[in-house]
């Protein structure tokens, strides 16, 4: 299984920069996700790798093979790249049966009939679609069509697998099952995979690493945990999960980095690996904050503030609090109900990420 190298891609659509110096490397067998809002350039990146878009600058290589090099005027046609792609619409050919859909790439590769049959049946078994061999796409459910699309992308042993929002047309229940299933299959087959999505849950739960994109630029490349816990900037913090943002001025002290919160007498001690000074924005996840009753004085010390409870909403598996400590408003997720209108909030220094 080869690595995928994407270097310095630039693509212009009219006035708009769709890709602005996009670079990343996907390791062998890795599931690498491009995550971002629509129009961020993730699909353009994927389609450039697939060979359906040609950037103005940059280089794309899979293993030792250069697919695209703007400087060297190399652009291998899409059909010569030997990549497996699952499209958002699945693009299962409606005039061919499931079997014919899977057989087509093998026919193009001039395999003999017997060999085609063996291989198609083998891959159909892999995606658990054997009984549907003779069906036409319109006779299949969305989830089944997706499996056929995946099987068709795998049947010719492509060098890498590209998934373009493959779950966005499934309903919520099915989507969760499909995610787990695709992840398991990818892992079992050891496929180097690039996955495009705008859904942060999907990205976090499936990926080995995530590249968060915005406005044609890569904002951060890291593991899902790092992206969530240590967002590189404000965009990443806000796009991946929910977040409280607190602005202030940071200064280094004996106890670590302390932030003087703007418009408030309170201070926030921040545990940040790279240190920080000057004006900063600190990101705090709602579930990282703990709430305790006002009477409970055992919780005290660093980053423990008294706060007024604004609203409490019950959301099934947790309660959502809107609290204010002076001028600071926080959204907090708490697994238990804390009595009283006045409570204590504690923000662990390790849960504070400096994003600006």
């Amino acid at each position: 299984m080869p690595e995928i190298h994407v270097q310095n891609l630039v693509k212009q659509f009219g006035e708009q920069r769709a890709l602005d110096d996009v670079s990343f490397t996907v390791a062998e067998g890795e599931l690498f996700t491009l995550l971002g809002p629509s129009g961020c350039g993730k699909s353009t990146t994927l389609m450039s790798i697939a060979g359906f878009q040609h950037p103005e600058a940059g280089r794309i290589a899979v293993g030792s093979e250069t697919f695209f090099d703007a400087a060297g005027r190399v652009a291998v046609p899409a059909e010569q790249r030997n990549l497996g792609i699952v499209f958002q619409s699945y693009a299962v050919w409606p005039h061919m049966t499931v079997f014919e859909n899977l057989a087509f790439p093998l026919k193009v590769r001039k395999l003999r009939k017997g060999a085609i049959r063996t291989r198609v049946l083998e891959v159909l078994e892999l995606v658990e679609m054997t009984p549907y061999e003779k069906r036409y796409p319109h006779q299949l459910s969305g989830g089944q069509q997706q499996r056929v699309a995946l099987a068709r992308a795998l049947v010719y042993s492509p060098s890498v697998l590209l998934l373009d929002e493959p779950f966005s047309n499934l309903d919520a229940k099915l989507r969760e099952r499909a995610r787990a299933w695709v992840k398991e299959l990818q892992h079992r087959l050891g496929l180097t995979t690039i996955f495009v999505t705008h859904d942060q849950d999907e990205a976090l739960s499936m990926s080995d690493r995530v590249a968060v994109m915005s406005a044609g630029e890569v904002q951060q490349i890291a593991t899902p945990e790092e992206v969530y816990r240590r967002p590189a900037n404000r965009f990443v913090a806000e796009f991946v999960g929910r977040v409280n943002l607190i602005q202030g001025v940071a200064a280094r002290t004996a106890g670590g980095v302390v932030v003087d919160i703007a418009g408030s007498p309170l201070r926030l001690t921040v545990d940040t690996p790279n240190g920080a000074s000057g004006p900063v924005t600190v990101a705090i996840r709602p579930e990282a904050v703990t709430l305790t009753p006002f009477e409970d004085t055992t919780v005290n010390g660093t980053n423990t503030w008294e706060a007024d409870v604004g609203t409490v909403a019950f959301l099934g598996d947790h309660y959502e609090y809107e609290v204010s400590a002076g001028q600071i408003h926080l959204t907090v997720q708490s697994s238990r109900l804390v009595p009283g209108d006045r409570i204590r909030v504690h923000i662990p220094p390790g849960a504070c990420a400096v994003v600006e």
Partner: protein, 580 residues
């Protein structure tokens, strides 16, 4: 699982023998050659002092001076513009009204009317003009009956307003289809919003619905104006008796009666007409915006609250029915009767004058028999060839990375704006200049076929493009990703999915080609006659009976083929004419 996919490696797909770019270039060059090709010698012929085949000519503006100095030419332009303007007004207002009645009201039988209203544009245009003459012309059956026996006034179709009425009845379906398409894709919640704001249905119609139609009306008006400027059969057959000359008939007469053959002034006049038609096409493109022209799906159709006509429901339906009877059914019946009687006159009941001699002429006279044979061959071969070629060109235009693909839609729509008579003159000169190839084309029916195919090629594109646009591009990308090249993907994935449109295009082209005539009038020779050209020539010489029989042959072929087409593929009778 015994094997995982990665224990297997397959050979890489081989590149196809003919590279995609070669096929795409060939297609593009052929489109440019057949569409732009004929106009180059036409322009050249218009700036020479003698025909192109005579050696030693010099470049001169003399032909232009000659034709611009002829007051009859300007008079013909005046007539043409008045005629085209009248035609446009009648056809657009009529078409819009019928469209609103059929899509936004509870008119009795509106679905059936929506289909029947399309017939005039599909029936042979020359044949229908003959039908009008037989029934409504000076001395026509109903004219005599109404004026001589009942002493009622009748419309004089041999005047400019009368001619405009005849042409408008043929072109009204274009306005109807354009408005119908606009109405059915318009978001009906806009109308619902006005209703809930307290507006009565009729007020909604005038304040919301009709203003929304404005782009469609402008679009239809420009197209109808362009098409009616090019009308040839009407001025030749209806205008001659009152000496009403249009530009097209002026050029035709000048050409056929010229003292020196093939005068340059005709080419100069044709170039001027071409310029006008091109300007109109550009205007239309501007009006439409590049893409909106083909928006075919979208909007929410369905649960639209229909305007209730109440007591007008049936009277309006009756009125529409009467219109259809008088403009479509009666001319066809007139033609049919005419083809079976010695003379058609209200003074003697037709059954006392029955004869089969007109129909016998069709088989006995060489020119008539050959016309039918030639037309049939040309229509079948031409429709197949054009459909195949346009399918390929449409794929290059919209599903390839070919460098000049964006030029193709304009090129393929261009002949639609070009008067048929000019395409005819263009090919005439083109064949004269291309040596042995040109000679072979001139001496066979294939020369006429090519001119007909080019003339009608836009219809194939208009039918195919909306269907292609609905076939998701990911389907062919999936084919490419699977390892198939451009041509293989097109052949095995896109074209099979395009089949219904390909079939509809074939039916429409067959009907249009078999009924076409004006590009042929300068190209026919003894031996290469086609039905329309024969009808025109024979009628001008006064042969009415056999011409009516020949027109009936056209009508019958048209109706049968359309019925078969509609039956097999439920083509909405008119395919996609509305985008035209």
């Amino acid at each position: 699982m015994t094997t995982t996919p990665y224990e297997l490696t397959y050979p890489r797909p081989r590149r196809s023998l003919i590279p995609a770019w070669a096929l795409q270039w060939a297609t593009w060059l052929l489109v440019v050659t057949v569409i732009v090709g004929p106009f180059i010698p036409l322009v050249y012929a218009s700036i020479r002092d003698r025909p192109l085949y005579e050696a030693g000519g010099v470049l001169t503006l003399q032909p232009y001076r000659e034709i611009f100095g002829d007051s009859a030419f300007w008079h013909a332009w005046g007539n043409t513009l008045v005629f085209a303007a009248l035609t446009t007004v009648i056809a657009v207002i009529g078409g819009a009204l019928v469209a609103i009645l059929c899509t936004r009201t509870d008119l009795a039988g509106r679905k059936a009317f929506g289909r029947m209203i399309l017939l005039p544009i599909l029936l042979p245009s020359l044949g229908m003009v003959l039908g009008w003459i037989v029934v409504w012309g000076p001395g026509g059956y109903l004219t005599s009956m109404f004026s001589d026996r009942l002493h009622l006034p009748t419309l004089a179709i041999d005047t400019i307003p009368g001619m405009a009425l005849v042409e408008a009845s043929r072109l009204l379906p274009i306005a109807f289809l354009t408005c119908q398409a606009a109405l059915s894709r318009a978001d009906s919640s806009l109308e619902d919003a006005a209703r809930s704001a307290g507006a009565r249905p009729l007020r909604v119609l005038f304040n919301i619905t009709i203003p929304m139609l404005r782009p469609a009306l402008l679009n239809a008006a420009t197209l109808i104006f362009t098409l009616s400027i090019a009308a040839l059969g009407i001025p030749l057959l209806l205008g001659t008796s009152n000496n009403i000359i249009f530009v097209s008939s002026y050029l035709y007469n000048t050409w056929t009666n010229a003292s020196t053959p093939d005068p340059g002034s005709v080419s100069a006049g044709a170039v001027m007409m071409l310029v006008v038609a091109t300007l109109l096409l550009l205007l239309r493109n501007r009006l439409l915006g590049a893409e909106a022209r083909f928006v075919s799906v979208g909007g929410k159709s369905g649960r639209q609250a229909l305007l209730r006509l109440r007591r007008w429901r049936w009277p309006l339906a009756g009125l529409l029915f009467t219109y259809l009877v008088f403009t479509t059914l009666v001319p066809v019946l007139g033609l049919a009767t005419m083809s079976f009687v010695v003379v058609l006159t209200p003074l003697v009941p037709p059954w006392e004058l029955l004869t089969s001699s007109h129909w016998n002429v069709l088989w006995e006279d060489d020119a008539f028999r050959r016309s039918i044979q030639n037309s049939a061959i040309i229509a079948v071969v031409g429709a197949v060839a054009t459909t195949a070629f346009v399918a390929l060109a449409t794929l290059v235009a919209h599903r390839s990375g070919f460098r000049f693909r964006r030029t193709l839609p304009f090129l393929m729509l261009y002949p639609r704006a070009t008067p048929g008579i000019i395409i005819g003159i263009g090919f005439f000169w083109a064949y004269l200049l291309t040596g042995a190839f040109g000679d072979a084309m001139r001496d066979s029916i294939w020369g006429i076929m090519l001119a007909f195919c080019v003339r009608n090629l836009p219809l194939a594109y208009i039918v195919m493009y909306p269907t292609l646009a609905r076939i998701g591009e990911e389907l062919d990308r999936a084919g490419r990703a699977a390892g198939a090249g451009w041509w293989r993907t097109s052949r095995t994935i896109v074209l099979p999915l395009l089949k219904p449109a390909i079939f509809a295009s074939f039916i429409l082209l067959f009907v249009e080609i078999i009924n076409d005539y004006d590009p042929a009038v300068f190209l026919v020779k003894p031996g290469t006659e086609v039905m329309g050209a024969t009808m025109l020539a024979q009628f001008i010489q006064g042969t009415v009976g056999p011409v009516s029989a020949l027109a009936m042959v056209q009508v019958l072929i048209t109706v049968v083929v359309l019925a078969i087409g509609a039956k097999i593929f439920k083509i909405g009778v008119a395919g996609g004419e509305h985008g035209a």
